[in-house]
């Protein structure tokens, strides 16, 4: 967490993350353009510039596939959560790789003619009325535009400026960009006498991304179906039992209206907060108590459990909920308090 904006917020983990990413990109590009051509069974090798364009294009596609897998993987196995922590750097590097692909293509396919090369990108192929020969480049341009917007607005300044709901809505368009890239490849390279391997890889990538999202989504829906039961006394609902909440951790309580509440135990106290982190909607209930604060598992944003306020000098706030005990049962008032409202923690005793 930081109270001031820096162009890039570095720490040791982010540096390691970026070094691994860059190593993967460099390994991919070097192998594709320097080593693999020696093993090709061809009369003459592919033109170097075209090879570079292919390398950067396929690399960007694979990187975006991996990025889109991180979210559902982290839902299915919390060990993948650290990959989510610096996913924005992953996205920016992917955008740079995709941009290099586009710049390389423009430099070879659209240059050297009397027509301006950028005009030529849109004017050279106008077969919009047919499938075979459709100007697949427009899908690539559209996807690159979206990736550039996402990269440009990836900084926390924009998150704060646009507010998390708008920022999140904009960044969901990464799926539109991915779909556009798939169309770009399917209508271009895959119909262009390429080896079947690219078709297999693209197909498996799409199945992987869609499959992981479906599985993770199904599990989340199942959780929501088990909404907390109403207690005898309205408006209270049964959140669980004292013994079901490990010390220093929380449980996630789904409500009938689709909201989720995080109930935390810290020592002999219980408190309840909205499950959605004010930073990027991370699942607070899957976090831990650290230094007396609920800590989000995504980016480590912290909130005091009793009032939902980030500790000074931070200003983020989440809604709080009232709790009470009925024997060992934890009862929750499902009506949220205003973000930052203090609620006296419930005292628990050992059974």
């Amino acid at each position: 967490m930081s109270v001031r904006y820096a162009p890039v917020g570095w720490n040791r983990n982010k540096i390691i993350y970026d070094v691994v990413l860059l190593a993967a990109v460099v390994a991919y590009i070097l192998l594709y353009i320097k080593i693999a051509p020696s093993f090709q069974d061809v009369t003459k090798p592919t033109t170097g510039t075209i090879l570079r364009a292919q390398a950067f294009g396929t690399c960007a596609f694979l990187m975006l596939t991996f990025i889109l897998c991180i979210g559902p993987l982290a839902r299915l196995d919390t060990r993948f959560l650290p990959l989510l922590y610096n996913r924005r750097h992953f996205g920016v590097i992917t955008c740079a790789v995709a941009f290099t692909h586009a710049a390389t293509i423009v430099s070879i396919y659209y240059s050297f003619s009397p027509l301006n090369k950028y005009v030529a990108v849109l004017a050279s192929n106008t077969s919009y009325d047919r499938f075979l020969g459709f100007p697949f480049e427009v899908f690539g341009i559209f996807a690159l535009f979206l990736l550039l917007v996402l990269a440009a607005t990836s900084h926390d300044f924009w998150l704060k400026f646009l507010t998390p709901p708008i920022w999140k809505a904009i960044h969901i368009s990464v799926y539109v960009a991915y779909a556009a890239i798939v169309c770009h490849i399917v209508l271009g390279s895959l119909q262009s006498k390429q080896s079947p391997l690219l078709a297999v890889i693209v197909g498996l990538s799409v199945v992987l991304v869609a499959g992981l999202h479906l599985v993770a989504g199904r599990i989340e829906r199942q959780k929501d179906r088990n909404a907390a039961e109403r207690a005898d006394e309205a408006p209270w609902v049964v959140a669980g039992t004292v013994d079901s909440v490990p010390d220093g951790r929380g449980i996630v309580v789904p409500l009938e209206d689709g909201e989720r509440v995080a109930v935390f135990r810290y020592g002999d106290k219980l408190s309840a907060l909205a499950n959605v982190c004010a930073h990027q909607n991370g699942p607070l209930g899957e976090g831990r108590i650290m230094d007396g604060c609920v800590t989000c598992p995504w980016h480590g944003f912290q909130y005091r459990p009793e009032d939902g306020c980030a500790p000074p000098p931070f200003t983020e706030k989440v809604a709080t909920y009232r709790l009470k005990l009925d024997g060992r049962r934890i009862l929750l008032d499902p009506r949220p308090n205003e973000p930052g409202t203090y609620v006296e923690p419930v005292q628990v005793t050992e059974a």
């Binding site: 693999a36 090709q40 075209i50 196995d77 009397p114 119909q191 391997l197 599990i219 976090g287 480590g300």
Partner: protein, 262 residues
């Protein structure tokens, strides 16, 4: 699923310490990412389709030839046989970039010219990229000599053919780019052709017409193809028309509007 796994520890990015079980897992993921990307790069990089043997034959050095410069259907040179090349040849002409030789040759069409430049070669079809100062000029008669002349052989009709294949721009297909065909190259081919590169028809079956695979395209009257036919470039089409032989170059005279996309 998460609940069934042993607790790997809690990761907070800005705290530099990473719990050991989680660190081990992340090292494995990092190695899989780098190794996986390397493996995919190798697999995709080695699985390239053969782009053919088209090449910009700079190694041959600058070529000099003399012949009659013709404008239609696209700029070609009917090369005069000489001691080194006793067979008459017809060579397509281009200039550097995606441009036509028409501008440089506009006052010379129909004349005997000296041409210098570098060759593009693919199989047994050639193209000359006119390049350099004074690389395209009329042949001048020496003092007290009659003006040199050369009359190319008339075209030889090879009959009417229905062919399946792809329209490519000659320059890229003959070696300016490898691959210089297919849909990924369509926009480039359209741009090259609209900028003046002669379009060629590449038959699907190798050596489909009199042993030749590449045919220079022309309209039914022997002129350049009319209008915008970009929709038919780089896709598999069927075309019917007369084929004529100009020395070693075949010309496919078609009504492009009757092209059938397959």
């Amino acid at each position: 699923m998460a609940g069934r796994l042993p607790d790997p520890g809690f990761f907070v990015g800005y705290l530099n310490s990473v719990p050991r079980p989680l660190a081990i897992f992340l090292v494995v993921v990092a190695a899989a990412l780098v190794g996986g990307m390397a493996g995919l790069a190798f697999a995709l990089g080695t699985n390239a389709n053969d782009p053919g043997d088209g090449t910009f034959a700079r190694k041959l050095g600058k070529q000099e030839m003399t012949g009659v410069l013709l404008e239609n259907p696209y700029p070609i040179l009917r090369v005069r046989p000489d001691a080194r090349n006793p067979e008459a040849r017809t060579i397509m002409l281009t200039v550097p970039g995606k441009r036509s030789v028409k501008r440089r040759g506009r006052k010379l069409f129909g004349q005997l010219v000296d041409v210098k430049g570098f060759m593009f070669q693919r199989g047994d079809i050639d193209m000359l990229q006119v390049q350099g100062k004074n690389s395209l000029k009329a042949v001048e008669a020496g003092e007290d000599e009659p003006p040199p002349t050369f009359t190319p052989a008339p075209s030889e009709p090879l009959g009417r053919w229905r062919l399946i294949g792809e329209i490519c721009d000659s320059k890229c297909h003959l070696g300016a780019m490898r691959p210089g065909d297919g849909l990924a190259h369509k926009a480039c081919a359209n741009l090259c052709i609209s900028s003046g590169a002669p379009p060629i028809f590449v038959t699907q079956e190798e050596g489909a017409v009199a042993g030749e695979t590449f045919l220079l395209m022309a309209d039914q009257d022997g002129g350049p193809l009319p209008g915008n036919f970009g929709d038919y470039v780089a896709v598999l089409i069927q075309l019917e028309g007369e084929v004529e032989r100009l020395d070693d170059l075949l010309v496919f005279k078609v009504d492009i509007d009757k092209a059938e996309v397959l």
